[in-house]
Amino acid sequence: MKRTIVGAGPRGYVTVDFFTGDYRVSAQINVRNRTVNDILNDKRLSYIEVFDTYISRISQPGYIVGSHHVALLRKDTISFAIVPTGESRPSGQRAYRYGGKLLYQVFLTLPAFEIQGKVHTTGKLDLYAFLATNVDDFVILTEPVARVANFPDNTFSGEAFLVNRLLVTMFCASEQPERAA
């Protein structure tokens, strides 16, 4: 039986929480036939266009200080984005490079944030390769939790994070991986 979902948004639009060092921006992004991962990792785009934006300060992330119908976000200032699992993965031909069988518990620090989560790999995790030589700027973390360094009571979680590796100041990983289900 077909079921109707309320508030799923217009077709092709996905609601994403973006975090910069100072702000939380909840907005809709038009992914068309791609995913949020594709758009954040598209080297041709320095900015992304977002719609129905609601802006909060990181110190009071629940309070909306401004809302605008349309806005441009500079991708290199995005610390991380909270996305649904399906949107965290690349689509199409790029997809083959993901979906590892080992899960490493990781801890990352970025300016203003500390993030815990898990990364999937096919083999042993190479921190250097993951952080420094990775082709993609935004890396996937599952079971993630972010904490604001100056306001540690403010935490954020979601199905998956896309973390801007270029803003990562420290990347720690567990020694022993778990087997992914």
Partner: protein, 376 residues
Amino acid sequence: MSTVLIIDDDPSVLKLLDFAMSKAGFRVVLAGDGEEGLEKAQANPPDLAIVDVMMPGLDGYEVCRRLRADPRTAGMAIIVLTARAQAVDRKVALEAGADEYLVKPIMPDELIRLAREVLARPRAAAPLVELPQGRVVTVFSLRGGIGVTSLAVNLAVAFAHLRQEEVSLLDLSLLAGHVALMLNLQPQLTLANLLEQGSEAEEETLDRCLARHSSGVRVLAAPPQPVTSASGGGQVVKRIVSLLRGRFPYVVADTASTLDEVTTAVLTASDLVLVIVAAEVQALQTAIVSLPALRALGHEDDDLWLVLNQYTPKSPLPTQAAEKALRRPVRATIPYEPALPQAIQRGVPLILHQPTSPMATAVARLAYQIDKHFEK
């Protein structure tokens, strides 16, 4: 048939929910933005409002705050819908006055089930019941500097708004009371004049000592100069409270952070004591030692309400830790409000200065909660 007001800027959501809720037996009223929703709610208060958070203009939190701040809509059920799914969003929604919080996308069945559940919860009747006699509510803390006076002032204004009649506010701090300052009043006659008259103070004199504030609060201001010895002050306060009870639905007392004769007298005469705590170790320790002293004055646990006042932007301890330490539930949490110092500086109570701020909404809710408590 229950009436449901749905406020959402997305026409497709309105259309879908209208269909689903009508089919489920609700009478549905639709509003395309916050302003329109407030107008419709105030003109014809529904049983339940379903409010989207992300709307242009007035966001859903602001709509909730305004609904709760208005006596006509303060008692209605509210469900908030939002695509913002973080724990902090839920907290803000509940602080703004929502009863429940649902994260989009949702199934209509889920919303209908929740709407029925929320509507089935016991809610206070909308019309206010006349109180048989005035109630005395004392705002108290043995630890000073944690926002007790500003809370007392705003609570008194909230009672005046809620009851739509005058209430009285007593500043019983003999050393340095600031109630008059916070209301920008310069009374000629104060508590000092009544203390001089002793326990035979006349009702007429008392009336002259009550400064009138535009909000409907009648203020008995603290002595302009510190009074270090007020022998017999307890008897005077008992007499004042007894006279005021007969005239006002609420007598709100702000006390010094001591257990002197005057404070003890008003605490003993109080129907409800709001014990103010802050989420800091010193304030918690003070609250822990205060409670037995208040019980010794004849108060039951039900007359002693813990109120957590987040008077600084950063709370060193979370609310749960405070409740754990006190081994009692916190009856209300008053959130930090950055605009409070400015309101104090201007001599305007925050509840008038920024009536829809989280703190003002929380105080209005507390007043409502207390009023319903006394109706029982």
